[in-house]
Amino acid sequence: MVNGYSIRDIKDGLQKGHFTAEEIFKKYSEKIRKENKKINAYLSVFDYQKPKLEIRNSTLEIPPLAAVPCAIKDNILLEGKRATAGSKILKNYISSYDAMVIKKLKKRGVAFLGKTNLDEFAMGSSTENSAYGVTKNPYDPTRVPGGSSGGSAAAVAADLAVFALGSDTGGSIRQPASLCGVVGLKPTYGRVSRHGLIALASSLDQIGPITKNVYDSALVLGAIAGHDIFDSTTVPEVVPDYTKNLGKDIKGLRVGVPKEFFGEGLEDEVNEKVQESISKLKNLGCEIVDISLPHAKYALAAYYIIVPCEASANLARFDGIRYGHSSKEAKTLLDTYLESRSEGFGAEPKRRIMLGTYALSSGYYDAYYLKAQKIRALIKKDFDDAFKKVDIIVGPTSPSVAFKIGEKASDPLSLYLSDIYTVPINLVGIPALSLPCGNGRESNLPVGFQVIGRPFDEETVLRVSYQLEQAII
């Protein structure tokens, strides 16, 4: 569906001797050099580095991810390379270690093309909040790629990378994947280590793959998932081979369609494509079940308390002392904090830190943070109850197709509403994938179909997505 090489194409090409690892890397580097200024997907690009591949046995079979050129969102640490988190406060920060996901990908021989653009500290749904300029949607450069992993999604969509890693706290992998017509997967919270991910909201953040097809998504997930002694929120559960059962049919699978995901605000052309996909699932033998998630309508409000609260704590480390920007105007210790943070942070981080500080402050904690976490429990119960009746839940990923740059920038609240279908999933910690399901009839822009599963049931999410993908092509 998406042009250029898939992960399997790279393996194929290497195996048949069509190109070497260095040649394919340089082909992508050259393309980035020519095209990146048009879309601003990459913040930094790397030279070719021969991968130190751990080859398990002596067969001549090339391991599936060896030499595959990928892009990494700039809030994931790659040792020795700049990591800006899309902010001026980390303009010159050089990562002092590899994130666990990077360590794992290095072991597989993956090649890193560069770091991609994002909304500052992953706060945003359009990449307009980046301190390094917006990324343009490859389908229409007057429109946003979505966010916060806009750079990663645009890079994959424009074939400036074979796959990318993004991070998702409220939809930041799935929504840009939807707006750019690529596949984006947010794993179950605890499935992938957050060690080396610049934290936004510690109870919600997850790293995940952005790929050209579902098979690639399954492959990358298998490579990055697993327990990590450096992240105590990762689970000890074994990582299965996510590619193994993709081809197994989905006859008899119960698919839940929540009425709350089809209310006001959903654009007609998006709904049309989503309904078509639901029909295709029916034709594949699935049982379509109407369900209700009564507390889903409170998810966005709960999210916009929880995230600023956790973010205000996570961003306290940017103090002008240990790393990052330090103000030259500072005369006292207090000034160091006040001025460095004032100069270094953009408007959205300031907004959210202020909101979070307020909500956690004495006298307000119960009314806001505690209340939001109770609502979160009720939302989880809705999903638990639903998963007693169905195996998968589906709906739109985003209420609209890619919007124009600047359209929502003046009203933060309207931008927050783009996340209305993705946010409940993060609060509950379950896995979800956005699959391209065709272009909208009016705009001819990509529409994303969201496939949501039970905790740690990425296998079913991927299988349903794979089967649907084959039916759509």
Partner: protein, 102 residues
């Protein structure tokens, strides 16, 4: 609507210096977001246990042994302390915390 006094207090807690212009914008933005969030009061949450994390993991311990991944040596020290905007040798420099009494 958040008061001027509250905005100043929050900014102090958050350790961010807010300009007067930013103050106006923040008052407006924060007030409108808090108004939206108010809808949570529609829900009766009496007796509901808050959900802080979704994995259900409790007491994620590991053995009390060095993890071996990060060996503190000159190399690592340089990578870490090397990032500090103000440093001296292998130490991070900060402005004085306590005032010297004359």
């Amino acid at each position: 609507m958040i008061s001027d006094k509250e905005i100043k207090h929050i900014a102090e807690l958050a350790r961010i210096r807010i300009t007067e212009k930013e103050e106006k914008g923040l008052k407006k933005d924060l007030s409108s977001i808090l108004e939206y969030i108010d809808k949570l009061n529609e829900v009766d949450t009496t007796g509901v246990e808050p959900l802080y994390q979704t994995t259900g993991l409790i007491d994620s311990f590991r053995s009390d042994e060095p993890r071996g991944e990060f060996k503190m040596d000159k190399n690592l020290n340089e990578k870490l302390v090397g990032q500090a905007p103000h440093k001296k040798n292998r130490f991070i420099k900060v402005k004085s915390v306590l005032e010297r009494k004359k």
